[in-house]
């Protein structure tokens, strides 16, 4: 499991490869916070290569969303598979986040 961070135009795109769970959530959080500290404002997390997410992974997404908003930025999510969509629906986090079907749509939505 790993996270790759790259810049697409003005947007910082993070790919989550593997699981986002209690054992690695801090790594994701730190990577995004480092970019936020550098002054980045637009963030997209892409889950096309993600297996499963647990409650601590969801908690980190909620936390990042708040911190990015506090700095006047925006966070979007993209490419949730059906199982991940169900997870977001069960927890109603689909109402808290802006979720796009594809990376392209998410990038266009900023």
């Amino acid at each position: 499991m790993s996270f790759s961070v790259k810049k697409e135009g003005e947007v910082v795109v993070v790919d989550v490869e593997g699981q986002l769970i209690v054992g690695n959530r801090q790594e994701l959080k730190q990577k995004v916070l480092d970019e936020l500290e550098r002054g980045e404002k637009k963030f997209l997390i892409d889950f096309s290569q993600t297996g499963y997410i647990d409650s601590s992974g969801l908690g980190v997404l909620v936390s990042l969303s708040k911190k990015i908003r506090e700095q006047g930025g925006e966070l979007r999510l993209a490419n949730l598979n059906d199982d991940l969509k169900t997870l977001f629906e069960l927890t109603k986090l689909d109402t808290l986040f802006q979720i796009a079907d594809t990376r392209e749509r998410a990038l266009q939505s900023f």
């Binding site: 499991m1 699981q19 769970i21 209690v22 054992g23 297996g51 499963y52 997410i53 647990d54 409650s55 601590s56 969801l58 908690g59 980190v60 909620v62 936390s63 708040k66 598979n81 059906d82 199982d83 169900t86 997870l87 069960l90 927890t91 109603k92 986090l93 109402t95 808290l96």
Partner: protein, 151 residues
């Protein structure tokens, strides 16, 4: 490496068994999840159960045991016993702590006032993703048993 690890098939051949004891470290969670998920795949559990119900609920139970039950104490261990049958999966996760009261942890993380919280979704997800979640009396420590009927 896990301290002990056994896989097998029950004497009547109808249930696949995973029995593993791991150090109290969240880095072992994925490995245990894979062991149990592999047996569920052999027993032809539904794709959603393999990709969502089993891995997420088991991850929650393991992280509760490691971080809450065992208080993140590296000297402690977590014991996992899973029986994967054609009808249902029964998985027990045991820690060496005092455990927690499942009934007292009935926070609904989906209400508007709780939706923005970072925590409080673990037990909720276990209950949503498994058919039954119960706490068992154990001679030392605490055991959570989860049951999921095969789709």
């Amino acid at each position: 490496m896990p301290r002990t690890e056994r896989h097998g098939i029950s004497p009547d051949g109808r249930v696949r068994v995973v029995d593993v004891e791991i150090p109290n470290d969240v880095r072992y969670i994925e490995r245990v999840v894979e062991l149990v998920r592999r047996e569920c795949r052999v027993m032809a559990y539904g794709e959603r159960q393999l990709m969502l119900n089993v891995p997420v609920a088991l991850t929650e139970a393991l992280s509760n045991a490691i971080l809450r039950g065992n208080g993140d104490d590296p000297a402690k261990h977590v014991h996992v016993h899973a029986e994967v049958g054609a009808e249902r999966l029964v998985v027990e996760v045991g820690d060496e702590g005092a455990g927690f009261d499942l009934e007292a942890s009935l926070i609904d993380p989906t209400t508007p006032e709780n939706l923005g919280r970072e925590d409080g979704r673990g037990l909720f997800l276990m209950r949503k993703l498994m058919d039954r979640v119960e706490r068992l009396a154990a001679p030392r420590g605490s055991v959570v048993r989860m049951t999921l009927h095969r789709e």
